[in-house]
Symmetry: D2
Subunit: 96 residues, 4 copies
Amino acid sequence: MKALTQSEVEERLKELPHWMVKDGKLHRSLQFKDFVTAFSFMTGAALIAEASNHHPEWFNVYGTVRIDLTTHDAGGISKLDFKLAKKLNELAGAYL
Amino acid sequence: MKALTQSEVEERLKELPHWMVKDGKLHRSLQFKDFVTAFSFMTGAALIAEASNHHPEWFNVYGTVRIDLTTHDAGGISKLDFKLAKKLNELAGAYL
Amino acid sequence: MKALTQSEVEERLKELPHWMVKDGKLHRSLQFKDFVTAFSFMTGAALIAEASNHHPEWFNVYGTVRIDLTTHDAGGISKLDFKLAKKLNELAGAYL
Amino acid sequence: MKALTQSEVEERLKELPHWMVKDGKLHRSLQFKDFVTAFSFMTGAALIAEASNHHPEWFNVYGTVRIDLTTHDAGGISKLDFKLAKKLNELAGAYL
């Protein structure tokens, strides 16, 4: 798995709403109405991540979830991160 | 906590879509598109149940979730079951 | 994926503590001390199941979890069920 | 709910293994063997937090979970944080 170049990342970001590059990682911040909804989303995301064998760095407090994706083995953002981000967007769509 | 009479249960069911009485318990069957979605819902439902200190009997296989609610201490269906059922309907609305 | 014969199942069960055949499925019943512990286990089990793309039929009420495993495509109990059962035993070992 | 004084916090920390004060919050870092175990713990912790109506700020990546507790309404660390921290220690004991 190779890291994508900056221009490849920018190109792919055009088709990935809600995500940006922050500190060299693919980043999305989500705001749910409460903890129940936020953690339900996180559980779905955890199932997707484990099945992909690709895990997020993420932070939660109450209804806020902040996700950072990067591929350690590639030393940057790879296709794996975009693939996971896309699935998380689909899942989040159910709640937001 | 007292069990509701049959006519009280029937009255309350009119305002609780998707639920019925089955084997003396308040019952709803839900069909999600996949396991990820079903188990995300279950986690939200688990959080609600634990915070209410009132827990479901429930069954899951893949996208199917079947829930039965009753109040053991009351020996039947009580207001607690209707309260939990209503919250589960709200939660399920996000997915279905 | 092929169903195992009855003697193959019996042979494998010797090395799989806590499980039995019930209604043609691989069955284990677990008793946790409370709902929090039971549902924590279930979440770990859900992650394992989703990553294996092999899902249980399971029932929960409070601290009780009952699991049935079968392989629909094989029309019976297969190696996949024993593989999942073994992983669930390892996970349950942390709690029980 | 009032914030505890620094000396009250220090006194209580003596009976709360694994926790320290970091950036004005009660902090514990946990290392699980894998994501499945870490997220199972997090789900148990989420159930406890929701039932306490007191939620953590927390970060996860793979087997690492970092938890910060503070009471916004009190403007600092309160008894609620110590109560939750103690329950999380008990839950973590099952895994670590």
